[in-house]
Subunit: 581 residues, 2 copies
């Protein structure tokens, strides 16, 4: 195989057209090998094979520097820059992450996983090059939905001011994770249909030079365009048209399903295992659709990840105008939700915990200062959530719970979650966020409260003495296990409490605990710093109560096993018991 | 005066051209009365008098709903909607805030103070209207720099998808606070120069309809344009050209100085009082210019508020390419700083504490995951900072200090601040943020440390016993006063500690304190929730140490007197002493 001859990008410089095409086919076989067995971003990587080969053919990495947006489409880049074993050799799958990673290679400059950052990061590399009096090209590769993110648009707008070399490759596959949303995609279509010749051009309107490549899978067109812009002393966009999932029929036809895919049979495209049983995405979608039918004011919003609350294409169609995908634009989504709420609308915006990080200011300024009754559903907010360094769900308590006026709730069961969600949609006093459970769907037969408007009342689920356990949200089940262990080992039944409210203290209850308890243990599924437990520790600071806060260390975890992290943070019942008793 | 006849916008509906012009002159006299005596946003409000009158002439507020971006240009709107006394009657100045405020009037829909939010909020109002089956126009008024913000660009991009009435008035005065930055302003210039006829049009490229008004001070042109777009069933941009500061010569010629102005003599334009003595803006600029001259790799970045670190136009010119104003684009600024750092550049990005809220995700993902050695200068991060609900500087510790890998430092004196800043620029291990002092320029004769790379070592500045005071940053001087009071009253000298590091615990020192101390007091100039003190409380949770955390309550303060807030939070030495002893 040709691929065996390639140790670095320089090894492809002399290839002729036939060899490049052979290489592309071999790379797709490597992608297929890894993706079918391990899962990962399928469509984005299959779609950009030729363009990545052409970039490495024309430019001289790492002297010329590539910055891949989201970097979920960097697999071909990894194969060409010394990491091919992680694709062709099953034993080496674990050697690389799914994103660019400077620790893996001198050809990577940033750990990236959120969208829309490439242009700004590339502007930085270019500015640095200019300050140091160095030369070389800086190339941002963006597309697949990322253009609509505010950070990308800020970067595109600023780039014109750089006044030196910066090449922005816009990989236009007419898709985001789901279909694209936003007016600018109309302009991309116009540019595609006019062969790049339409006068009305978003990129030129941003002050950038522009070049069009009609077939982003054609080596001649790609190499011609990249060669023409190489060493250009001003920022230039190269707009290439590609097909998401190119080269694998199921992915070409079912683009949304194949954006990211679990392991599958390459012959049929059938998944090797199917998610069984209940999940909060489907349950939430079912609930919201029912709610929408009963109340035309209810509207669900998402930002390019509709499936995080179960809104597959058919469900989106069913919801009609009561479902809005704003595209990759989380800031806009929170502000728009705030704008919907005061006039009687009932907005519910859902995205992943990690992506809410884009919206701190919008939660604070647009939403909470105005106390508008919008609902935020915080998905995969847990150590049990996503395990990549760029997608962790363990920071949202610290980030969101210290914003005034927000009511952040931590349900412990399926029934409690839907009771809280229903209350939140019906009430009109507070901005409310719900930390969607992430440790499996736990049911309770106990009656759950329907009204949460009397804020910050914790629920005592087991009255005991000596020790009180405040077990928040996803760690409530851990609290139950710990309570049983303590009772078993000491003979004394501890008090178990479901705090429910992350954003406030039940001071009456905390005060009352003093009379028959000497130890309080807090458990939370997030970092300790800035979290829930520290507020309990502050409350009891001047008192004789001993307070033990359990949660996660403030650190960026990466590709971790949950059990390892729990053990490292002393989060098994046995460890906690042994620490304290 | 005509203005005396106006109680609500409906009172101007019958006015002829002459009356409208008279009204505009009278309104400018009211603006002058308030602004010359009280200070405020001068240029933005003088520039939009005619346009605001024309909007109220054509549309029917509050059925038709206006959303002013930043809302610093809403004074004429306030005058026309029942709040004119706050401008013409000195005794009523305090009746209104400088921003839109739903508590003041049914004509205001949001408390707004940050830039770039109007389009998204207006999309929300429009969506809500459509869900409820209501009618009426929704009008966002944006401009004066705000267009370059990511939230605004996300909103513009999404607006095309609304498919119903939304009018976006772009007030183009060719300025931000300072001059505009970003490629899109080249397009606005092209549109101005072509009378709106250029085919390359940013707004059309975003999928929006477009209309141009050459003279945004001409009632006939304005009324014609607004009437034409009224009730249009799809999103439309009306691009109006205005002059910032229109009608007052000093403000027309010195636009940056007159964006916001302190009280002044209307005859001469001379400020009534001049800021005397040292300030950290000028000192920081002086330091950075010297540093830049010695090292071409040093680059200062700002996002439309260059003066927060003293970079007036002449200083910006002096810095040349080593100073970058990215425009209103804080997300881009942090990501670009991260991009500059790994290749050897030495970026320093400064903005206000409240505006760093836009960058939580960029600090986390673009900067800290990559551990790039950029420096962030956090300005007006203090209860002594800005006093409007939308510009508070008391949340940054909770927001930033819980992000892994960031080293957040709290200097207590001028000398310590510059030592920390110099260390941060020279080192290449850590992303570093500095909380710029905000309680006056305090000097110290004591030697200050020059190397902060051995993280989280607190400085004992007075060794005592029984009580230890950890006095962070701006509250170090309060700590000194408290220490003196305790020594005086109890006869026992307390230990005084300058923690310096907000982001970590000096566990060795905290452990050591246990031997001779029974009380620890923490003082911090920010909200307690998620802050520094709670981490100390957590550390001592299982111990016998009594911990008292002092700082601010988690709440949105508004137009407050610092002394009142300090007293309400028990932050005078006497109150603290009486609480504990």
């Amino acid at each position: 195989m040709l691929i065996e001859t390639i140790q670095s990008p320089s090894d492809i410089k002399g290839f002729d057209r036939t060899q490049l095409q052979t290489l592309a086919a071999e790379i797709r076989s490597g992608l297929m090998n890894r993706l079918s067995k391990r899962g990962g971003h399928f469509g984005p990587n299959f779609g950009i094979v030729e363009a990545t080969i052409a970039l490495h053919y024309v430019f001289d990495s790492p002297r010329d520097k590539f910055v891949f947006d989201v970097s979920h489409q960097c697999y071909t880049h990894k194969i060409l820059t010394g990491r091919k074993d992680a694709f062709f050799n099953d034993e080496c799958f674990g050697d690389v992450s799914g994103y660019t990673n400077p620790e893996e290679s001198a050809h990577d400059f940033f750990n990236v996983g959120h969208t829309s950052t490439s242009v700004s990061l590339a502007c930085g590399l270019a500015k640095s090059r200019d300050l140091m009096g160095e030369s070389g090209n800086v190339i941002a590769v963006i597309g697949d939905g990322s253009l609509s993110g505010g950070e990308a648009l800020e970067g595109l707008d600023f780039a014109a001011e750089l006044g030196s070399n910066l090449i922005i490759v816009v990989n236009d596959n007419d898709m985001s994770i789901a279909e694209n949303h936003g007016g600018l995609y109309q302009n991309l279509r116009l540019l595609r249909e006019s062969g790049g010749k339409a006068e009305c051009n978003l990129f030129r309107a941003m002050g950038l030079d522009y070049r069009f490549v009609a077939d982003g899978h054609d080596f001649a067109q790609l190499i011609d365009a990249f060669s023409a812009v190489k060493d250009t002393p001003h920022p230039t966009v190269v707009h290439i048209v590609t097909q998401k999932g190119k080269g694998y029929a199921p992915a070409e036809s079912e683009k949304e399903n194949w954006h990211w895919h679990i392991p599958f049979d390459p012959e049929t495209g059938d998944a090797l295992h199917t998610g069984g049983g209940e999940n909060y995405g489907d349950l939430t979608c079912e609930y919201l659709l029912k709610k929408m039918k009963a109340d035309p004011r209810v509207v669900a919003l998402c930002a390019a990840v509709p499936v995080c609350i179960g809104f597959t294409p058919d469900k989106r169609k069913e919801a009609g105008r009561q479902f809005v995908d704003v595209g990759i634009a989380e800031e806009h989504a929170v502000a728009m939700a705030s704008g919907i709420a005061p006039n009687g609308g009932k907005p519910v915006f859902a995205t992943h915990s990690s992506f809410f990080q884009r919206t701190y200011d919008q939660i604070s300024q647009d939403l909470c200062i105005n106390s508008n009754p919008a609902t935020l559903l915080v998905n995969t907010a847990s150590v049990y959530g996503m395990h990549d360094i760029t997608h962790l769900g363990i920071f949202d308590i610290a980030m969101m719970s210290n914003i005034p006026n927000l009511v952040y709730l931590a349900p412990t069961t399926c029934e409690e979650y839907f009771a809280m969600l229903d209350w939140s949609i019906e009430q009109n006093q507070y901005p409310v966020a719900l930390r969607m459970p992430c440790n499996g769907v736990h049911h309770t037969a106990a009656p759950v409260e329907t009204d949460y408007s009397d804020l910050n009342r914790y629920l005592v689920t087991q009255q005991g003495s000596q020790t009180a356990i405040l077990a928040l949200g996803d760690f409530y089940q851990l609290g139950e296990q710990l309570a049983a262990l303590i009772a078993d080992k000491t003979g004394s039944v501890p008090t178990l409490i479901n705090p429910r409210y992350i954003t406030g203290l039940d001071e009456a209850l905390l005060e009352e605990l003093k009379s028959a308890h000497s130890v309080v243990i807090t458990l939370e599924d997030g970092i300790l710093n800035g979290g829930f437990g520290e507020k309990i520790a502050r409350y009891y600071g001047p008192a004789d109560m001993k307070v033990y806060n359990y949660g996660l260390k403030k650190e960026f975890l990466d590709r971790y096993a949950v059990e390892d992290v729990l053990r490292a943070n002393h989060l098994t019942p046995e460890q906690i018991y042994n620490d304290i008793f």
